[in-house]
């Protein structure tokens, strides 16, 4: 092909590239965030976006009243107290969590998850807590255990009222992690062929048996959660596992790379939302 023909193809190539980038699913994180939150504002024009931090209770008045009654004696209170005790534990190597987690400690939940450029991976609050423990000479806590849940519950309580302001994934590693989480979120899986988005975007607000399907725009704000069916406080990753099991997909381990990437994507989609954890759910 001669130079004249190549030059003639340039506008077509540019057009194809711009069409690809403007097509659904190919947008950058900031465009994703705007479209994601806009979706819920259009879907529920009478409900302020901020109200979705209460999950399904923002969409169902009767269930909201029951939930508010339960919040009079919050079932996560014991976990918060246990977490406060754990938080104050001095490390054998000196210092404690307050010295390890940064200036705003213990109110740090709004800073996680974050992409660690040096490690080349997403770091969650739970991982940061274990990192502190190891550096301070303590054994790491089991991610699925009640001690970790208690510690996270205390930090969530202390972080109430803060707002998620995660930096937009920019470097290639952060973008790759974000895209991986995004793909997981929109991918149908399991024998029932459901994606996370099948319930929380496509069918949001509808009933699934007796449950109102909540908006994903409030899904990262309130963890950890005391869930009635668990009879304990558990993490967002435990909920990911439960969702996967419900659609008959094999769940992943808590704090697996894929779940951390999913949390990274989901939390970025919750940017600007107020933290209100820990919370109670049925």
């Amino acid at each position: 092909m001669n130079r004249t023909n190549c030059t003639a193809l340039l506008p077509i190539t540019a057009l194809l590239v711009s069409m690809l980038l403007s097509a659904p699913g190919w947008a950058d994180p900031a465009q994703d965030l705007a479209a994601f939150q806009n979706f819920y504002q259009k879907r529920f024009p009478d409900i302020p976006l901020a109200a979705h931090k209460d999950g399904a209770y923002a969409l169902d008045e009767a269930k909201r009243e029951q939930w508010l009654e339960m919040e009079d004696f919050p079932p996560y209170e014991i976990a918060v107290d246990d977490g406060a005790e754990l938080y104050d534990e001095a490390f054998p190597g000196g210092g404690g969590y307050a010295d390890c987690l940064g200036d705003s400690a213990p109110a740090v939940k709004q800073l996680y998850p974050r992409f660690d450029g040096e490690a080349g991976q997403v770091v969650t609050l739970e991982q940061a807590l274990n990192q502190c423990r190891v550096e301070g000479g303590l054994e790491p806590l089991a991610y699925e255990g009640e001690e970790m849940a208690a510690l996270a519950a205390y930090i969530a309580m202390e972080s109430r009222g803060r707002v998620f302001e995660l930096a937009s994934p920019a470097d290639p590693g952060a973008l790759a992690a974000y895209e991986n989480g995004k793909q997981f979120y929109y991918t149908r899986r399991g024998q029932l062929n459901f994606a996370c988005s099948s319930c929380h975007l496509q069918s949001v607000g509808m009933m699934l048996r007796a449950e109102r399907l909540s908006a994903a725009v409030g899904h990262a704000t309130h963890w950890p959660v005391y869930r009635g069916k668990w009879e304990r406080v558990g993490s967002l990753h435990k909920r990911f596992q439960e969702c996967n099991e419900q659609v008959r997909a094999e769940p992943l381990d808590e704090q697996s790379e894929t779940y951390r990437n999913l949390e990274y994507f989901l939390t970025y989609m919750n940017n600007g939302m107020e933290l209100n954890g820990p919370a109670s759910r049925k």
Binding site: P24, G25, A27, A35, A195, Q202, R248, A249, E250
Partner: protein, 112 residues
């Protein structure tokens, strides 16, 4: 007359021989052998490994494999074969789901 009776006679003899043959066989009519069951279980395991490598394992497949192996151990070959086939089918569907979803997930992303 002979031309009419002879074919009927042959069919009758063949039927009797077939019944005798079925009666002395250690395998019931239509029932798979243990080797056939083992082959399908192996296929199911292979498909499941592929589905998992694509991040799409279904939780029902290992359950069916366990059921097939338990039935095989108990020499319940028909039940073992049925469970093994379910395992294989669900694992193949999981792989197909992964292939389809590798691109179609983008269609579900909201656009502004």
């Amino acid at each position: 007359m002979n031309t009419v009776i002879e074919p009927a006679f042959r069919v009758t003899v063949a039927a009797i021989l077939l019944v005798i043959a079925c009666g002395v066989s250690p395998v019931k009519a239509g029932e798979p052998t243990a080797e056939e069951v083992a082959v399908v279980i192996a296929q199911a395991r292979e498909e499941l490994a592929q589905a998992r490598s694509l991040g799409h394992g279904w939780s029902v497949t290992p359950t069916y494999i366990q059921e097939a192996e338990a039935a095989l151990a108990a020499n319940q070959l028909a039940a073992a074969f049925a469970a093994a086939e379910r395992a294989n089918l669900t694992a193949m569907q999981a792989v197909r789901q992964a292939e389809l979803e590798s691109s179609s997930w983008r269609d579900r992303v909201p656009s502004s």
